[in-house]
């Protein structure tokens, strides 16, 4: 268990290159499925793959990159977060809605997305894993960078809205959402996501017809 020396290659010698990379991805897939996204470390993946942790760093730019490849997630979180944040809070809801459909709705992605959602529907562990990943690496980063209070609540509400749309559009296929134009859905979702990300929640929660008292 010394930190910098290569872990013992219990599974036999392995030639360098694609085979090692493939072994890392396969080990990561098992680790994430068994333990979720947050609990798994690059070191644990290296140990499970029987490779030196430095090799994981050599092939992948961080845990989120291993995850993207291991589960076939359709986009790189860094790219999405940068694009969604853009130049600031104005229009961030629309950019998030657009990024969501760009990731899930393209002709080449749909197959991967249905496979991902099927795994999620078949297993609460898979659902938790994917949600941890999306929340931590995309939504929480976006909400955090915008600087509002309660970024976790904002991220979770955006996640809830988008999970629901994904279920209705891709899994259960309820019309007219299932075959609606992406532009139309973007315009429906954009103000909702914009509000969850940037509205003054304190003010909103204190005022309005809902009042301040419990029923």
């Amino acid at each position: 268990m010394t930190a910098a020396t290569p872990a013992p290659r219990r599974r036999g010698r392995r030639p360098a290159g694609e085979d090692t990379r493939g072994a890392i991805v396969a080990a990561a897939r098992e680790q994430f499925a068994a333990r979720g996204y947050e609990a798994v470390t690059l070191r644990a993946i290296a140990r499970a793959a029987g490779v030196d942790p430095r090799l994981v760093h050599h092939y992948f730019d961080g845990k989120e990159e291993v995850f993207v490849e291991a589960v076939g997630f359709p986009v790189r979180p860094k790219t999405v977060v940068e694009g969604v944040l853009g130049s600031g809070p104005d229009g961030v809801g629309e950019r998030l809605a657009r990024a969501f459909f760009a990731a899930w709705d393209g002709p080449s992605q749909r197959e991967r997305v249905v496979a991902l959602l099927s795994a999620v529907l078949a297993s609460p562990e898979a659902a938790a894993m994917l949600r941890e990943f999306v929340t931590r690496e995309i939504l929480l980063r976006v909400a955090g960078e915008l600087g509002g209070d309660r970024p976790e609540l904002r991220a979770a509400m955006c996640g809830a809205q988008m999970i629901g749309v994904a279920m209705v559009r891709y899994v259960v296929r309820i019309e007219p959402v299932a075959s609606a134009d992406v532009e139309e859905l973007v315009r429906l979702l954009a103000p909702t996501l914009q509000r969850y990300l940037t509205a003054d929640l304190t003010g909103e929660l204190a005022g309005g017809p809902a009042g301040g008292d419990r029923a």
Copy 2:
């Protein structure tokens, strides 16, 4: 197959009362699971139960009542629709959010709700059945009564938002939504549902930063 005569009791004689009622419910459960909510008729349920269709009408006030009992749905749709519609469009989003949590969040309902959602997560057919029921008997009735254009789209968007919240709060349990106060969630959801139900979608879709052209 003559309409008004009792169907043959192929499964043997059955005493009147709870046993017949139970047979109807059991047959309905099988029918809905196999064929979804919309495709099943009261006549088909009667046939599957081996009872006269008039007995189904005797015990249940319509297909939605049979469904409520067959799947353990936590509320009667008619009661919900009347309460949500209230005196008109003002505050309908808040009343829908409140009805949603009243149905799902009570101490006695949670067990049933988790059972329902587990069935949905385990089977796309169960998901479709439940979604058909909620959309047709609750959301579409609310959206239709409000008189706006495109009630199906409005109902589906409300459904998408609430399914997502149910997933995040009850199934995957992402904080802070999982343990948030119901009143707080009502105030977050109310403006979203209000907009989906009553906003001028034509105007919204034509204007705004999203523009009118496809990218």
